[in-house]
Each structure stands twice: as structure tokens, then as C-alpha cells.
Point group: D2
Chain length 265, copies 4
């Protein structure tokens, strides 16, 4: 009844001649069931960013349609491949040169504690993203895994002990084959690039194992991104970005290192 009378301002023309690369919504909470290629289904409340490009001649994006299309996810699974199709559908729906989506989630890796075998787990961040243009789709996956780093310099110069800290290792990869990209498996491998992995439950024998293990494997931030770069390359990933950030225990600032496939060779 009402709708015909209400002007569609966003659909109007624009005379300013400026193309808008992305217009959309960010921070939209949405319940998702994300199917990882590794086989697991991750149920979580995601934070979603969704957008379309707005050509110079058009006034604006239809943002409510983006939110509606996110809302439809609650009736089924999504996956990297599904996000690519979803972005393509938004592009068609809004007759836009480009569209995209980013889904930020917290996942859990469950595993026994290192010595006691008690049930333990690690929570880590995942961002699955897709972009659709006339040239096709681009899929990316990013994981941020918290780890321990123990400082090689501190170990070398001190008579006893060495400072350690929690560090955040982030890897972002271009996904060539969505059906083969196991994001949780990648997160588990990345944990091995630092001095030690983290666990939610550590009994005394676990704490002994973790402490001694980290002391035996000192790693600078630079070392961690290098180990991770070798891991990604061996796994066949051609385009990647890495960043590690150490919440330094001896400073009130952080140390960081970054590497990317572009800067190699």
C-alpha cells in the first residue's frame, strides 16, 4: 500500500561524477553455520561487512537489501564458495560493477592438553571474504592465531630465563580452490610456527612441557613470519600476507613483523 508512494532516493542519478568504490554495511551481527573444507561446521555469531560499488552516475546503494540477504543465512550453511556466489548475486541484484562480503568469526580448535591430555581448546579469529566483479570472483581467508613467543636475544644474553609473551599471528591467503581450503587446519599448522601454542587448560605437567618447549624454541617476530611463509609456500599458496604482533612482556609497546608473497623473489 504504502510503498509506491515512497520515493527511492538511492536509485536517483548523481551529477558529481565520482565513483564510490564500496558502499554498504559493517558490523552486522548474524548467526552463521560456516562449512570449512576440513569438514567441520562452525556455528557462531559473525560480524558481517557487505558492499556494492556505486557507479559515478548513480546516487547510492540499497543497503537494506544487503542486510536482508545476510539475514537469509540463518536458514542454512555458508562456505567460502557460497560467499562467492552470494557476492555475485548482490552485484546482479543492484546492477553494480562490483560487490563483496567479509564474515568475521571466532572459531575453536579443540585438542588435548600437551602432557595431561585433558580437554583443552584455543579460540581464534577467522575472516572469510569474497569479491565479485565482471572479471570473476576473488576469495580470501584470514586467520589470527594467538601463540607464545620467547625472545632469542633475551635467552642468549641472560644467565637464566628468557622473557616470553602472547603474540598474535595473522595469515591471509588468496583462495584458489575453495573446496580444498581447510581454514581450521591452516590455523592448527600456524600454531607450530611460534615458540609454543596456547591452551585454555594447562595442569602442572602441561605447564612444565609448555615452558620447557618454549625455552627450547626461541622465536623473534621475524622468525615467526618466516616459518609461516615457508609453511604457506609448501602448502601451495601463491598469494599470502603474514603479520605477527608480540604483546612484549618487557615493553609497553608491541613488536611486529610482516611478510608477503609479493615481496619475495
Amino acid at each position: 500500500m504504502n510503498a509506491p508512494a515512497l520515493a527511492d532516493v538511492q536509485a536517483g542519478a548523481d551529477a558529481r561524477g565520482v565513483a564510490v568504490a564500496r558502499a554498504g554495511i559493517a558490523g552486522l551481527a548474524a548467526p552463521v553455520a560456516f562449512a570449512d573444507a576440513g569438514g567441520e561446521l562452525h556455528q557462531c555469531l559473525a560480524q558481517v561487512t557487505a558492499w556494492v560499488a556505486v557507479p559515478a552516475a548513480k546516487r547510492g546503494a540499497h543497503m537494506s537489501r544487503l542486510a536482508e540477504a545476510v539475514g537469509a543465512w540463518k536458514d542454512g550453511e555458508i562456505s567460502l564458495a557460497a560467499l562467492g556466489a552470494w557476492a555475485a548475486a548482490r552485484r546482479a541484484e543492484q546492477d553494480s560493477p562490483a560487490a563483496g562480503v567479509e564474515v568475521a568469526m571466532t572459531w575453536l580448535l579443540a585438542r588435548p592438553a600437551p602432557a595431561s591430555g585433558r580437554p583443552s581448546w584455543l579460540d581464534y579469529q577467522v575472516v572469510a571474504a569474497a569479491t565479485s566483479t565482471a572479471d570473476g570472483e576473488e576469495l580470501t581467508a584470514a586467520v589470527e592465531v594467538p601463540v607464545t613467543t620467547l625472545c632469542p636475544c633475551s635467552k642468549e644474553v641472560a644467565a637464566a630465563g628468557a622473557h616470553s609473551q602472547r603474540s598474535l599471528l595473522r595469515a591471509k591467503i588468496a583462495v584458489a580452490d575453495a573446496a580444498a581450503c581447510g581454514i581450521a587446519a591452516l590455523a592448527g599448522q600456524l600454531e607450530g610456527c611460534a615458540s609454543a601454542r596456547l591452551d585454555a587448560v594447562l595442569k602442572r605437567d602441561d605447564e612444565k612441557a609448555v615452558t620447557e618447549g618454549a625455552y627450547a624454541r626461541p622465536r623473534f617476530a621475524e622468525d615467526v613470519v618466516r616459518e609461516a611463509a615457508l609453511l604457506l609456500t609448501e602448502a601451495g599458496h601463491a598469494r599470502w600476507k603474514l603479520r605477527v604482533r608480540n604483546l612484549e612482556s618487557i615493553h609497553n609497546h608491541d613488536a611486529f613483523a610482516e611478510a608477503s608473497s609479493e615481496a619475495q623473489g
Copy 2:
């Protein structure tokens, strides 16, 4: 010209019979020159919270007057004592049963690095606050100092090494004598309650000293608040709250401990 014609909605009556304990503004950025009792003048951009109580019969607070009165600080110094007077003035100005202000700042402790003597510094958080009621004024000072903690259990059980992490130690005290309360001096003392202090610049000989020093002084979160409690008590503070939060290097969650003067003997 205009003003007489514009209704003062906030000054109206309210029939709902509910007293509003605090109505005001939060997150107001303001340049301050804060005079600490220790003698230093701290120039910084503060985040200010300011409020008045609104009795049940009155509609609302005049929030713009609070912002105006904060704006007047840029022409001079403030201090704990001045904040008490400022709150009393706001209470009078708005004919309110109570008024208050909180000033959150980042300060710097400058000092030589522990071994090399190179200039180094620590940034830490300070909150100075005042409340004015018919019963008088109440002044409080809070500091949050980042430190290192090294785990006593990890040291005990491991053949070599011990995990350490950055920790945040917060102390809040009721200020009995504003003229005698040196906030920066208190922050410097609190640093001594943990396994090691932090510095912005640490050369290799400093890192050796800090690493060995922390290994010789393992501290649980519980230990840190206990040491701080003894320090505050010895300094004559009668009412205090303490909290330490360890950014655990072996977990993706934090450990914490809290103590207060109320909960003692």
C-alpha cells in the same frame, strides 16, 4: 536575541518520581595541565566525564554547561584539589544534590634504562576524580601501571625458563590530603610490586638485567596485589582497591587478582 524565545526543556518539571543519580557527559577530549603533588605538571589530552545528580522532580541536567566548564581548563592548571572545587561549583550552578568529574590521562615516567642508563620512559594511565555532595567532597586517584610478571609455578616445575607476560596493575585510592598525594610517585612505587618494570628502550645489557631480575622475582597475580596492598598500607592510605591483570603468555585468556581495604581484617 534568540535565546529568550527558546524553551529550556531540561529545566522543566518531571512527574515520574525517579531520581537520576548521574546525568552528564563522557569521553569529552580536553587539553589539561595537571599539577601533581609531586611537583610535576602533566600536559596531556584528557578524556573527561562530568555529571550532576538530577532530583526526581526535575527534568534534566544542563549538559552544555558541563562542557563549557571543562573548556575553561585550557587557560590554567588543574589538580586534585581543583577538581574538588570544580565539582562543588557545578553542583551549585545546577542547584543539584551532587556533582562529579573524572579526568582520564596518559602520563609518562621518565628514567634511565636499568643497566645502560639510556633515557627511557613508561606511559601509564591516571584517573583523577572528585565528587561533591552536601556532605563534602570525595577525591580519588587511580593509576594503571604496566609491569612484567613471571610465573612462580612455571619456574618451579620447569627444568629451564619460566613464562612471563605483560600485566596491568591498577590501584585506586581515596585521597585524604590532596596536597600530599603524589600520583606519579605512587605509580613509580607500584612498578616495584611485580617481577620487573617495563621500559621503552632496552639495550642488550638492559635486557640481560631485566630478564635475570624477573627470573629472580617470580610473582603470581595474587602476589602482586598483596605487595601493592602492603605498599599502600605503609604509605598511610586507608581506603584502596587493587587489581592486576596478566595477559597470560601461555593462555588466550587473562589471569587476574583483586584486593581492597574493605576486605581486610
Copy 3:
């Protein structure tokens, strides 16, 4: 094998004479299925804080036991009543004078959009908490609901329009009867205390309804907490705290108001 040889440092004695009110873990991610009294089961990844009191004579808390006991939640439902029992069990397990737990979650309220009836939803924050002492248990529930506020003063003085903004309304209640405390229902009621509720999907006819509705219901921050105070009182809650924070659209600071049952009468 190993365990008997590993010293239990936390179980040792302490000579400093300082009681630690709370020692525990914070920011622990845990998958929960929370059963609200309203009947719904909320599946989400919670952030958990868990603690015990440490008497003056004892060295420290057994933090890994807290994490283990949180880990056990994944095999079943929790609820306000269950949290009370859980805290009591931790108190007994660590022979402590007090223990407690806080579970922070994001929930979704699903409902049709106001005019179009399209499926829409609101995400809001919930904190369920329990404390156990020799005197018994104390349960609390807190919800933070985002809403719209439209400024009564702006509407009054302007020839057309009135500024509005997103606001966050937080209510914390002492729970007398866990079996009767519907947290999601409370959140839905609190939405009605502001100028308008928020929705994830608003088509043009919805936007018309929401805009006109908010313009017809201007609310200061003080109004919102007063409306909420009346609502809580009518619902029979005896002890409560309220806070609203307006992300002011005409300032770069926020406006806020707070009220509590203590400050009434």
C-alpha cells in the same frame, strides 16, 4: 609419572597477611547453551570470568581448575540457576570463602520489521553472573540494548527536524527467582523506553514508521533511565542499576544518565 614430583606452589602458605578478594581468569572463550527462563536456548560463544577468594594465609588460586570447569559446559545447558550451583561447587573445590562467575554473551531478538513485517533482528549484550559465599548465592543479570534517542531540546528549539543517535541502555538486576527471570523478555521491554527500537532490516515503509515514531517520542538520556526504572519496578525487581549512553550525533562526546534502586526514596 611426572605429577607427584611437581610442587603445588599455589597451595602453599602466605605470610603477608593480605586477603585476596578475587583471583581467577577473565576473557575465557567458551561455547555455551544458555537456557533463559523465557524458554529459549541461546547458543553462543561466551566470554567468561571465574574467580575464587584467596584467604590471607593461602598463596593462590588454582586457576586451571576454573578453566576445566568452564570447559565442562560444552556438554550441556547452563542457566542462571546452574551458575549459582557452579559457583558453589568452585567454592567447595578450592575450600574458599567465596567464588563467582560472569558469562558475557551476545543474543539475538528476532521479530518482524515494524511496517513491512520483514524478518529482522537485534543483537544485544547479556551478562549472567553468580556469586557464592557462606551466606548463600547472589545471582544477577545484565542486558545492554541499543536503541534510538531523539533529543527533546533539539525538537523543541528547531523549526524542523531533531537530532537523533544510537544509544546503549544497560540494566542490571539482582535476580530473586532464577526460574522466573526471562532475560530476553526484559531486553524486549527495555527497547520500549527510548524514542525507537533498532532493527537490522528496514525497508522504506519501515524507515518512515521508525523516523516518525522517534520524532513523536523524544527522550533525553534522563527520560530513558526513568522509563526503564518504572518498568523494572512494575516488574517487581527490587534491586537494579540502569545506565544509558547516547552516542551524540551533534557532539564528539557522549551523554549519559544513571539511576539505581538504592538512590530512590
Copy 4:
């Protein structure tokens, strides 16, 4: 005495064959006096990121030297041009293919309120950055200015009123001529691209002016970046990125728009 005996681990060789694009420090607090080309000196506590590239054959960066060189700022002014020279000096000092620095600061724009003329101000974020490579230096300046946006669609469809919200407009520009780049002046101009500017102090006649002004100037997120794009182009900036984020008052998610010089014609 000590130093000769302490191994320089970072200076060692690395056999893994992975180049590290950036290794350095982030979140370092430092007092700065930043000289803007507009003539003003901005005294503030900056958050500094500083880094060098680490070639494949070298183990790591000397991070403490970066912190030391930041510490030297407290004795004088810095500026965009000075940051370029500083980055070049770090590159030389660590014999690195590249070095860079980012200085994040909060500045204040002071001005009279729009109708009353009362002293008011706006706090906004500035990031000044420099990169040095064998190809020369690259300087950038970014500002994030909070503004008001009033929704054109809401105004169009509603019989009265229109929703508005606080929005954050960010512009990042490549600086061709550091001596001519007035960052505070740019921030002031960007405020004009939205529905209204923000002020810390607004009396009733100011609130009338701001409310009516915003109602007369509705702007979508897309409109704001387009206006800003025209402004930057007219000011002669050849390379820029723009982003606006609306803290939507009718949703619990944000709306955003982005544009860049690259994506134009």
C-alpha cells in the same frame, strides 16, 4: 664492560630465504610537538609505529634503536618533512632496503560555536607517515573527522523528522609538498562535506542552528565521500583514499562508503 660479551643475535645470518617486509615496534607512546604546515604546533602524546625491512639473508631488526630514535623527538619539533628524514636515517642506520614511521595523534580544532560564538572545539585523529626506500621517500597524511549525517531517504519518506547520527570521515592523502600540506586546514574543510559539523559546546541557539542546518543538508555516506573527493581534487591532491562510517541511529550496525583516486575515471 658488559656489552662486548653479549651476542648480537639480530645481526646474525638467516638461511630460510624469506624477506621480511617490515619489522619494528607499534603502539609506542611518545610526546611530540608536531609542526603542521598551517603554522600551528600540536603538542600531544602520539602512538608511534616504526619499522625497517629485513632482507632475506639477515636475522632481524634492531628494534631498540627505533625506540631510542623516537625518544629523541622530545627535544624538538617533528613535521611531515622531518619524518621523511627520520625514516631515511633509520634505513641508513640499519643498512636496510626500506624504513618507515607512522605517528598517530589527537588534535584539536578550536573555533566559536555556530550561533552563540562560545568557545568550542573538535578533537580529531591525525596520522602522519613516511616511508624511505632506495627510490626516495613517500609521505602521507590521514585525518579522521567526526561529523553529523542526516539521512536523505529518512527525510524524504517521513512526514516529520529524519534520523541522524555521528559519522567518522577519514581522508588519507599522498603528500607531494610537505611544506604546503596543512593538515588541520584539511580537517576543517572535510567537516563541510557532511550534514553538520560537531562542537563540544552547543547552547540552545547553537543547537537550533545545527539541527536546522543538518535537516537542510541531508547526506548519505555516499554523498559525503563524493563531496570530499571533489574537495581533495580541487585542492590539487592527486592520490587519496576516503572512507566514511555512519554510526547508524536506526540500526545496530554501521553504514559506510569508500572512494579513492585510483577508482576514478
